[in-house]
């Protein structure tokens, strides 16, 4: 019996792993639209960009002499580089059942869009030299060319796990010990109870992490385009609800959704975080750019230079 379950899980994992290359491709394509260099620290340090020439003082390493500059005058000069440091970013993608929703056959599911966004961010950041890791994977943040692949595989593996289990844990970001001043990016529909979310965010904010929330929603979840006698069913065991005239509650629903959004924004602001929304029928590049602009904005922890 156990073997059978294991075999099934393996099969599903393989099935999901098959989806990795196209996801990666989409992520790479989107990430390539954003150009961002390594963050210069505007001071001398280890780095690759030229910062200044400084006169040689005894005690300086001789191999750092810039001979060409020195030959121009009587003094000796050293070449100094700008110190560039990479940020550490943790990504999390909601893999719960509610994400596997697509209102129309020609729309991607929220999960697919969220995965693409996650991977695209990971790709963009690793290309920019940042260290990236998947939240809750237990791996150390790494930089380099192969980060994107490993994250993609990790994500596919987790998605396989999430699909085969009905566990609720996938709808709330896990709490792991994060290094201070790390950046956290959460991609989800954030439809889980806001108290749980608040608890999780506060835990992150407690370690002085900065973060950004990307809410992924289906157009049907925005507009409730249904009419007539409809039985709405929850996907994570919330129960069901019979509406005899679904068109009558549309306005109320929109208001409720707006309230939810406000609550989410408030939640983020209280922790000093930001939030953006992505609808699955929009281009992913736009939302990605938004998130990236937030990352690129100069609110990195400058106080700890």
């Amino acid at each position: 019996m156990a073997t059978a379950t294991f075999e099934k899980a393996k099969y599903q994992a393989a099935e999901i792993a098959e989806r990795v290359p196209p996801l990666l491709l989409a992520a790479r394509r989107i990430a390539a639209t954003i150009e961002q260099g390594v963050h210069g620290r505007r001071r001398v340090g280890r780095g690759e960009a030229f910062w200044q020439f400084r006169q040689y003082y005894p005690g300086d390493e001789l191999r750092r002499l810039d001979w060409r500059q020195s030959a121009k005058s009587d003094r000796l000069f050293l070449r100094q580089m700008e110190w560039s440091a990479a940020q550490t970013a943790f990504l999390w993608c909601d893999l719960s059942a509610s994400m596997r929703f697509a209102s129309k056959r020609d729309l991607p599911s929220k999960l697919e869009v969220a995965q693409v966004l996650t991977l695209a961010l990971a790709g963009a950041m690793s290309r920019a030299g940042e260290r990236v890791a998947l939240l809750g994977s237990g791996e150390r943040p790494t930089a380099g060319r192969f980060v994107l692949e490993s994250i993609a595989h990790r994500l596919a593996h987790l998605a396989g796990q999430a699909e085969s289990s009905s566990d609720q844990k996938f709808s709330i970001p896990p709490h792991g010990a994060l290094p201070a001043h790390a950046h956290v990016i959460l991609v989800s529909d954030f439809l889980a109870p806001q108290e749980e979310l608040k608890a999780a965010i506060n835990r992150f904010a407690g370690t002085d992490c900065r973060g950004h929330l990307i809410q992924v929603l289906d157009p049907a979840e925005l507009d409730l385009p249904y009419a007539g006698r409809v039985r709405f069913e929850g996907v994570e065991g919330e129960g069901d609800l019979l509406m005899s005239r679904a068109e009558n509650i549309r306005e109320d629903y929109r208001t409720e959704l707006a309230n939810h959004w406000d609550g989410l924004k408030l939640l983020a602001q209280s922790a000093g975080w930001s939030v953006s929304r992505h609808v699955t029928d929009q281009s992913a590049a736009k939302s990605l750019l938004e998130a990236y602009q937030w990352l690129a904005a100069d609110h990195r922890p400058t106080a700890h230079q």
């Binding site: 529909d189 439809l191 006698r229 069913e233 005239r245 109320d252």
Partner: protein
């Protein structure tokens, strides 16, 4: 039974169920449709909402109405509604239906049958019995007689009834009725054919007889009576056909179609009845040759025995004998002596090729002798007698006739030798034909410009040579001479019957000339015995179609044919042996062709329409619609998806019912072009992958060798499937024999035979010399397999290749023929004279040649040769080159011209 106007309900009490409909309405309103089910992740947000108003959802009123309508339809259908139910009969006794079933009834037979069947239905509803009576004479009395029977039995009897191809005999029918002891309270319906009997008082008497037994209702197709064709008249201007009609007063166009024996249309003529004309004379607009071939003339848009007139076999097809001792040899395409003659004559005439002795025993109009026709002195005398009795002998010149022109069966005396016009050693040009003289049978034929004579035999000058000359060249020399000999003709073409001496035999003129000659011939020379019985060969049915003779038809003595009346023993049709059919027509047995004088009403089937099936069908369709609506309301039909599904289903249905296109085997033009633009070596695909790969590589290697060493420009090798592919594009087929190969079908064998007959070449490679070498036998397993594979293949006698065979010198001079193995014998056909120029169509080897030739793309050999050495492989290639040269050039190298050079090379 409930009747409302034309509508009747057979089971009206079921209509009470309509009272249930209001209850149904109430029930339907109570049960709302089940809701759509939608998975919706943000359902927590919905839990927070309170709906504004919770009106109970009801089924829409129009849906309830639809469902009620369906229920009403079903109830109405169950009540068995009938439209136009005509009840009752005037008298209390059984119903009698008198059906005219002579030839004239074939016109509108379906309407008559329908009316009769409606009457039987009505009788069944009224519980009456039915009597069926017919008026045309029959060979045997019908099984149902004149007795009352249940309506159901009568309906089956009626369904089996057919009209007869001869006229009715109402006098005899009246006599039968009188004898039958019928009750006097019958309800009689006479479905008449509308044509009067030979004497008008017969019809009145018949009507009186019927009336004596009960009420009489006479029905007839009043305005649409059949036409009748009278026997045609021949006069010098052509064939005149007479058409008779029964009613006058309006002009009426008619169209006639002339058909030959095989039912092919020869021509169509149009004519018109003038308003006051009872008989129209229409000329058949056909050339004489075509008119002679006409075997029957039919009225268009009419289907009765009277609308067809049959013609005796006569001027058209004639039996023609071609004298040959070896039909297979002389029929050889393009080369055989009788090939072109047979091709020219066979479409229009019956051609037999046989020995003279055999032919002289048959009835023939023309005998054709070619140059090589051999006959003994006795036969010559017999032939001369035959000609004098009225036969025509047509001879063709040739080498033999020009060398010894001592023959008394010629129209003119010939000079020994012949003259050659044009050619390499002559200043003269090939001669053309002069216009035919008016006295010639060929007068008026168009002479194509490109007919040229290169060689001919010459006649000795004579006083009456000019009169005997039927065709001459532009320089005046006779080309065709003919002479009356007794009652017959002797004709000589001064050229051969093949394309060697002139291109006349391959021109269209040749066909026309032979046709004219056959028309000139007086006909079949045989003594006709006027007392011989003529057995029925084909008879007409009442609808004017020729069928095998009916069972009751018996033979007619020849001299009585013209006086015989059509009837059950002698239905109209063809009588007599094949090719000498004599026609018995219907028209003489109907000398009076007039309308019925008894007053009749227009025939009309008062058909009762059962409405129940249509009601049920509509209800069923509406039920499907209701189901779709219910699904749509529950949201189970996505709008776009549903549309696509419905369309796909409809299209699939159309495709299923549409006739499948026949997969005619036609090669696309591109494939034909590709196969013929360059020469390709081809191998037979065996289905064994290794063998096929080896064959392909082998032919590839050989192709490369050919391109490198010779001027032969060959394309890539081609794999051939003998079952499916066209073979005639490939001059040479390599066929490796394997155990795993499927035996070709009979059709494929036929195709291969045809391929060989037209000069194809197949090289069978048994590839088993290594095994023979081990077992020491003469024949390996491959040869056994070859025999199994090719049953029915036309393989002539084979022999081991002689040392002086053309294959040994067609390009390289070779002594032995190694392949991958050595020592195997190559077998070729024993030369059969001029068949295929003595070129062997079949070669059999056993040395696995393809393996020796096989190279990869870079020219590296793929298989080692055994015992080995590059010399062996080189010799294998040389043999391959020789084979291809042999396939392409035939016996060219066996020509004596090359002998000195070859001898010198051989050092002899």
């Amino acid at each position: 039974m409930l009747t409302l106007g034309s509508l009747t309900f057979a089971a009206p009490w079921l209509l009470a169920a309509l009272a249930v409909l209001p209850i149904l309405w109430w029930l339907l309103r109570l049960t709302p449709p089940s809701p759509r089910r939608i998975s919706f992740p943000p359902i927590r947000l919905l839990f927070l909402l309170r709906p504004k108003e919770e009106t109970p959802h009801r089924t829409p009123w129009w849906l309830i109405l639809l469902r009620l309508f369906i229920a009403a339809l079903v109830i109405a259908g169950l009540a068995q509604p009938l439209w136009n139910a005509n009840f009752g009969f005037p008298r209390g006794g059984p119903v009698m239906i008198v059906l005219d079933d002579g030839w004239a009834a074939a016109h509108g037979w379906e309407q008559r049958k329908e009316a009769a069947s409606a009457l039987i239905d009505r009788a069944e509803r009224n519980g009456r019995q039915v009597i069926l009576a017919t008026t045309a004479p029959q060979a045997s009395a019908p099984s149902f007689g004149l007795t009352p029977m249940p309506a159901a039995t009568a309906a089956t009897q009626l369904a089996a009834m057919e009209p007869s191809p001869w006229p009715t005999d109402r006098a005899a029918a009246a006599a039968r009725l009188d004898k039958a002891n019928l009750p006097s309270d019958l309800n009689i319906f006479w479905l008449s054919d509308g044509i009067g009997s030979q004497k008008s008082d017969i019809d009145a008497a018949f009507s009186d007889t019927l009336q004596a037994h009960g009420s009489l209702d006479v029905m007839s197709l009043k305005l649409d009576l059949p036409l009748m064709l009278l026997p045609p008249e021949r006069d010098p201007n052509g064939l005149w056909v007479k058409v008779a009609r029964t009613q006058i007063g309006a002009a009426q166009p008619v169209r006639l179609r002339a058909l030959d024996r095989d039912g092919r249309t020869l021509g169509i003529s149009q004519g018109t009845f003038r308003a006051d004309e009872r008989v129209a004379r229409i000329k058949l607009d056909l050339p004489v040759e075509l008119a002679n071939r006409a075997s029957r003339i039919a009225l268009e848009n009419a289907a009765s025995a009277g609308s067809v007139t049959l013609l005796d076999d006569g001027g058209g097809r004639k039996p023609i004998g071609l004298v040959t001792d070896n039909p297979a040899l002389s029929r050889q395409p393009m080369l055989g002596e009788i090939y072109f003659v047979e091709r020219a004559l066979a479409p229009n005439h019956e051609v037999r090729a046989d020995r003279l002795q055999t032919l002289l025993k048959q009835e023939l109009a023309v005998i054709v002798l070619t140059d090589n026709s051999i006959f003994a002195e006795g036969d010559r005398a017999a032939l001369r007698q035959w000609v004098e009795r009225g036969g025509m002998v047509v001879r063709f010149a040739g080498e033999k006739l020009s060398s010894e022109p001592t023959d008394d069966l010629l129209p003119v005396r010939l000079r020994p030798g012949d003259r050659t016009l044009g050619g390499a050693l002559s200043w003269t040009e090939p001669a053309h034909l002069a216009p035919f003289p008016n006295s010639s049978p060929f007068a008026g034929l168009q002479i194509p410009k490109d007919v040229a004579i290169e060689r001919q035999v010459l006649a000795e000058p004579d006083i009456d040579l000019g009169n005997k000359t039927w065709a001459r060249l532009t320089d005046g020399t006779p080309l065709v001479t003919g002479e009356r000999m007794g009652n017959g003709f002797s004709v000589l073409f001064h050229v051969g019957s093949t394309a060697d001496w002139s291109n006349l035999p391959i021109s269209g003129l040749f066909v026309e000339m032979l046709d004219r000659l056959v028309m000139t011939a007086s006909g079949i020379v045989a003594n006709a015995d006027e007392n011989r019985p003529l057995a029925p060969a084909q008879t007409l049915n009442a609808f004017g179609q020729l069928t095998p003779p009916i069972a009751s038809a018996v033979a007619i003595v020849a001299k009585n044919l013209s006086t015989t009346k059509a009837g059950p023993q002698h239905p109209p049709g063809f009588y007599g042996p094949d090719n000498q059919h004599r026609a018995l027509n219907l028209a003489p047995s109907q000398p009076v062709f007039a309308p019925l004088t008894v007053p009749a009403r227009q025939l009309a089937a008062d058909r009762t329409l059962e409405l129940a099936p249509s009601l049920f069908l509509v209800a069923f369709l509406l039920l499907i619609a209701d189901m779709l609506i219910a699904l749509a309301l529950r949201g189970l039909l996505r709008r776009r998806g549903a549309l696509a599904t419905t369309t796909a289903a409809a299209v699939a249905l159309c495709l299923l019912t549409a006739p499948q296109p026949s997969d005619a085997q036609q090669l696309p033009d591109q494939d034909i072009l590709a196969a013929t633009e360059t020469t390709h070596l081809a191998f037979v695909r065996t289905g064994v992958p290794q063998v096929d790969a080896t064959s392909k590589a082998g032919l590839y290697g050989l192709t490369q060798t050919l391109l490198r060493r010779t001027s032969v420009d060959v394309g890539d090798p081609v794999a051939i499937d003998v079952e499916a592919d066209e073979l005639s594009f490939y001059p040479f087929l390599y066929w490796p024999i394997t155990a795993g190969q499927r035996t070709p079908s009979a059709a494929a064998i036929g195709k291969l035979n045809k391929y060989l007959a037209v000069g194809g070449m197949i090289f069978f490679d048994t590839a088993d010399q290594n095994l023979i070498g081990m077992s020491g036998g003469d024949m390996g397993p491959g040869a056994q397999r070859l025999m199994e594979l090719t049953p029915g293949l036309d393989v002539p006698r084979l022999m081991a290749i002689p040392p002086d065979h053309v294959l040994t010198k067609s390009f390289y001079l070779l002594r032995d023929f190694p392949g991958r193995w050595i020592g195997g014998t190559v077998w070729v056909e024993v030369p059969r004279g001029r068949v295929n120029d003595g070129v062997s169509g079949i070669l059999v080897g056993s040395n696995d040649y393809a393996a020796a030739w096989a190279t990869d793309e870079l020219g590296q050999p793929l298989f080692p040769v055994t015992p080995g050495g590059e010399r062996q492989r080189e010799m294998a290639y040389r043999f391959g080159v020789n084979i291809v040269m042999y396939a392409l050039t035939g016996n060219y190298k066996s020509d004596q011209v090359h002998v000195p050079a070859i001898l010198e090379r051989l050092g002899q």
